[in-house]
């Protein structure tokens, strides 16, 4: 159904027959399924740049599903993970969910549940992809600022006036005004409100008020 979806399903199960059946099933549903018969194979071969979700069998030799998720995350790959397990083990489930699992499904798998989980994961993956894109844009823009402009940015998002900023930085208002307009231009925003929203996204903290300046 989603043959044109940009997302792939990364499936890891050490049982080849289960792997085959699930791959076939998901493939029949139109998903782009990338099947791996072990954790090590997955870690070695999968392309982290392809968006999509992962389905990990919990009980596997070498690295089990949870460990695989941790390993992935340690590599800086944020991907929604659905766990499937032959046995409903509450402590394992809790750990998996705390680690940010989309879902924890017990075999034999309910098809609807699995598909719902995948869709939810794709949704999350889609949102995350938009966010990633925006952040990348912001960071790109930030990288184009001069140090003085970036300095001015932190003062602006703190809500300070040009005159105050000039006093803080030991320059004239006019110069600040110039830096400010260039900064706004480079950041692609027209209002301070927009700038503040962007700065929050990339965790830029507003400049604390200087003690001498406020008086």
């Amino acid at each position: 159904m989603n043959s044109n979806s940009p997302f792939a399903v990364f499936l890891v199960d050490d049982d080849p027959r289960v792997l085959k059946a699930l791959t076939r099933s998901l493939h029949a549903k139109g998903y782009d399924v990338r099947a791996f018969s072990s954790s090590t194979e997955f870690l070695a071969q999968h392309d982290s740049s392809i968006p999509g979700c992962a389905i990990f069998d919990v009980s596997m030799p070498d690295l089990d599903g949870l460990q695989l998720q941790a390993a992935l995350s340690a590599n800086g790959v944020e991907r929604p993970v659905i766990f499937i397990t032959g046995v409903g083990d509450i402590p394992v489930t809790v750990r998996a969910m705390q680690a940010g699992a989309i879902d924890f499904l017990t075999k034999p798998l309910n098809n609807k549940q699995l598909l719902a989980a995948i869709e939810r994961a794709f949704g999350i993956e889609a949102g995350a992809a938009a966010l990633r894109r925006e952040l990348a844009l912001i960071n790109d823009r930030l990288s184009k600022l001069t140090p003085r402009e970036r300095e001015v940015l932190t003062h602006v998002v703190a809500g300070r006036l040009n005159k105050q900023i000039a006093a803080d930085l030991g320059t004239v208002e006019k110069t600040i005004k110039l830096h400010r307009s260039r900064m706004m231009l480079k950041m692609g925003v027209r209002t301070v409100a927009d700038l503040v929203r962007i700065a929050e996204k990339v965790n830029i903290r507003p400049q604390q008020q200087d003690a001498t300046g406020t008086r």
Binding site: S3, A21, A28, D64, T85
Partner: protein, 795 residues
């Protein structure tokens, strides 16, 4: 003729010849004997004996040739012994008796002897002498003595004084008269005898020998005339020696004073007793009695020179014996009677003087006999009972010993017999008791008619009534049909091969109840080597069998519970194993449905075929898991089936797959290519494998997942096959190793401690062996050995 002796009357002849012939005949015999004994004495020694016999020989020779002076008279010669004292004086009496004994011994004819007691000391004075002489003259007027013998000077005086009156021609033979007195005799014609020489000097010498430290000498003497001569003799003899002593003469004092004196003498005093016929008060005594009293009270040893006193308390002295005096007198008389002229006979003092001591007194005074002069005759030696009666004692001891032995033997025999009887009775009782108490019945089968004898208890085992006539057939009819033929066969082959019976069978009682009986027996051979009967015991082992069954049941129950428990532990892994195929099936089925339903699927219909194939395969896989579980969970009888150990291991690993994955165990399996089959119960053996593998997994739980290596291998080892489960855990501590197979021993927090105990039991019941040992490096190895099927079949 009127004076003929009865001897001659009896012979009826009165001729000299008769006597002579008779005497000669008798003497001839004696002569031969005497010569023989003389020669014997010459050859073998004893001086004394030779002298004695020598004189005997002389006498015999005299008789041989001679004639009897008395014979002229044609009657028995008469010897009158005049005792100056009375019959209470021992010395003259001893002499008199010795004379008579000697005469009787040496004379071929009878010699009439007479003794008269003159009692001259107690009745002193001429009146008594005259009266006595007159009496005797009248008395012996018709039987005048041929010889008169006198003892002591008083009677010699009497005899000489009244010689004309009594026996004018009879020679007088005296004794106990001192040579001094003899010398004073006016007409010594036909007066011969043995002079008395009391030797006080030698007696003192003896005393000095035994009392070398004595410094006092006391001489005791009476106050009568008779005493005086011996006092003088003593004085004369001792005078030369008195200088060496502090010498005292106790003489002429009252007896009481004398006794008092001697009782206060210093111990180192030599007391010489002469005679005390009368004391200072004029009282008369028997000297032998006086010395007896003196020795009783004396505080020093007393010596004397007369053997009359020997044995009456004196230590001893140098002395002759009165017996030898009598013998010498008798010999003189015989000479005279055979014709010797008395005047030619020289008086002598006797030749048997010697030192004589009383051993009892030596001992009493604690005097050493070591210093006694050589040849001292020691009388009254207190011969030990042994010395004196050695043979008797030996005989008595021997007899006693023999008797004791016999009595002991008899007692022992009796006791043995009683013991045997008792032990036989006890044995019987014990046998009966033990036979009954162990539910054992005794039986015997005769082969000639197959009749069957059994004890009451044995009958009870089979439920036979007491009056039932038993035979092998009756017995067989009561045996369980399934066991009957086998039992019959056992009996008959036992008879044929003379082999003992040891078998078990069931008996069906009339109420339908079944009892297990163990039979033990052995055939008894008769003379021609063929078995005549079989006898043995039947033991009721029903309880044992039931207990065995119960134990087996309980064992199976526990084993089952353990399997359940293991599977419980494995439930997660097993659910996973089961869920895997189910997951595949479901996914495949849904895909197929989608394809067939045409629900916007990219797949072709022909893929459905492939999907269905997978579904079937996965279904089979699920089915296998379920079968395995069912098998393990089933409670069943033990089976005996061929076991492929490799397959069993693989199947077990399949079952454990999930667990192994979950526990991150790296497993390596190396199974022998051509492993022979074993034989047994696959469920039980799989339980063992499960347990061992689970233990190995557990053992490695503390290790890092990447280091959890489990190695399972099988191999052939001789006639056995072996499986080894090798882990790399911490291994076994030494305390654990020893208790490993004990029930309820566990190292796990929640373990029951039954796993290995049951495993061991199972493997043993398969004829195998289970051992767990530490590896050289790390970890432990469980080795599980099973005999191959072939081996079991042979066993």
């Amino acid at each position: 003729m009127s004076h003929r002796s009865p001897y001659f009357l009896a012979s009826g002849k009165t001729t000299n010849n008769d006597f002579a012939v008779h005497g000669a005949n008798r003497l001839r015999q004696n002569f031969v004997a005497l010569v023989a004994s003389y020669l014997f004495a010459l050859v073998f020694g004893s001086n004394c004996a030779s002298k004695k016999h020598f004189s005997g020989l002389l006498i015999a020779l005299v008789f041989w040739a001679g004639c009897w002076t008395a014979n002229a008279a044609g009657r028995a010669p008469r010897v009158l012994f005049l005792n100056a004292f009375n019959n209470i004086n021992p010395a003259p009496t001893t002499v008199d008796q010795a004379v008579r004994g000697r005469l009787k011994e040496r004379s071929p004819v009878r010699i009439d002897t007479y003794t008269e007691y003159l009692d001259l000391i107690r009745f002193p004075g001429d009146a008594h002498e005259l009266r006595t002489a007159a009496y005797l003259a009248e008395k012996y007027a018709q039987t005048p003595p041929d010889i008169v013998m006198v003892f002591a000077d008083a009677s010699l005086n009497f005899a000489i004084k009244y010689r004309e009156l009594l026996a004018p021609n009879a020679p007088i033979i005296y004794s106990s008269v001192s040579a001094t007195i003899i010398a004073t005799i006016d007409r010594p014609e036909k007066i011969v005898g043995i002079t008395l020489a009391l030797d006080y000097a030698q007696t003192l010498a003896l005393a000095e020998r035994v009392q070398p430290n004595a410094r006092n000498l006391v001489v005791i003497s009476g106050a009568s005339d008779s005493d005086r001569q011996w006092l003088i003799a003593a004085h004369d003899q001792l005078k030369p020696h008195e200088s060496r002593f502090n010498t005292r003469y106790l003489t002429g004092i009252a007896l009481e004073a004398l006794l008092a004196e001697v009782s206060h003498l210093p111990r180192e005093t030599i007391v010489i007793y002469t005679t005390v016929f009368g004391d200072g008060t004029g009282r008369q005594f028997v000297p032998a009695e006086v010395v007896e009293n003196l020795t009783k009270v004396s505080s020093a040893p007393i010596y004397a020179a007369s053997d009359t006193y020997l044995g009456r308390g004196i230590v001893g002295g140098y002395m002759d014996t009165h017996e030898s005096m009598g013998i010498a007198m008798a010999d003189m008389a015989l000479e005279i009677l055979t014709g010797r002229d008395p005047n030619t006979i020289v008086p002598h003092k006797g030749n048997t003087y010697a030192f004589r001591v009383d051993a009892r007194q030596l001992k009493h005074w604690n005097l050493s006999d070591a210093n006694l002069p050589a040849g001292t005759i020691v009388s009254f030696k207190q011969a030990t009972l042994w010395n004196e009666h050695r043979n008797l004692i030996l005989a008595v001891i021997a007899a006693f010993g023999l008797q004791t032995a016999i009595v002991t033997y008899v007692l022992l025999q009796n006791r043995r017999r009683r013991q045997a009887e008792r032990s036989l009775a006890e044995t019987e009782e014990r046998m009966a008791f033990s036979a009954t108490s162990t539910s054992t019945g005794l039986w015997q089968i005769e082969t000639k008619d197959w009749s069957f004898w059994a004890t009451d208890h044995c009958r009870a085992l089979f439920g036979f009534a007491a009056e039932t006539r038993l035979s092998l057939e009756v017995l067989l009819n009561n045996i369980h049909p399934e066991d009957r033929a086998a039992f019959n066969q056992t009996m008959r082959s036992s008879l044929q091969l003379s082999r003992p019976i040891d078998t078990e069978f069931r008996v069906v009682k009339s109420d339908g109840g079944i009892r297990w009986i163990a039979a033990k027996g052995h055939p008894l051979d008769n003379n021609n080597g063929r078995s005549a009967c079989i006898s043995g015991i039947f033991t009721d082992i029903t309880a044992l069998k039931m207990a065995e069954g119960e134990t087996e049941l309980q064992r199976r129950e526990v084993a089952h519970l353990m399997r359940q428990s293991v599977l419980g532990e494995l439930s997660g892994a097993i659910a996973h194993e089961l869920n895997q195929p189910l997951t595949a099936i479901l996914a495949n089925a849904e895909t197929a449905q989608d394809i067939i339903g045409g629900n916007d699927v990219d797949m072709d219909l022909d893929q459905v075929q492939d999907i269905l194939k997978d579904i079937i395969e996965d279904d089979k896989r699920a089915d296998q898991v379920i079968r395995r579980l069912r098998k393990l969970l089933k409670k069943g009888e033990s089976k005996s089936e061929p076991i492929n150990l490799n397959q069993l291991i693989e199947s077990t690993l399949d079952l454990l797959h999930g667990e192994l994955v979950r526990r991150k165990i790296n497993i390596d399996v190396a199974l022998a290519a051509e492993l022979p089959e074993s034989f047994g119960d696959s469920v039980q053996l799989q339980q063992v494998l499960l347990n061992l593998i689970m233990n190995a997994i557990e053992a490695m739980s503390a290790k890092a997942p990447s280091q959890r290596e489990l190695f399972i291998t099988t191999r052939v080892s001789g006639t056995k096959i072996e499986a080894a489960i090798i882990d790399c855990g911490p291994g076994l501590s030494s305390t654990v190793e020893t208790q490993l197979f004990q029930p309820f021993f566990t190292t796990k927090k929640f373990g029951l401690g039954l796993g290995l105990s049951i495993c061991s039991t199972i493997v043993k019941s398969h004829g195998g062996e289970l051992r767990i040992q530490n590896n050289v490096g790390e970890g432990a190895t469980a080795i599980f050995v099973l005999p191959t099927q072939k081996t079991i079949a042979l066993a």
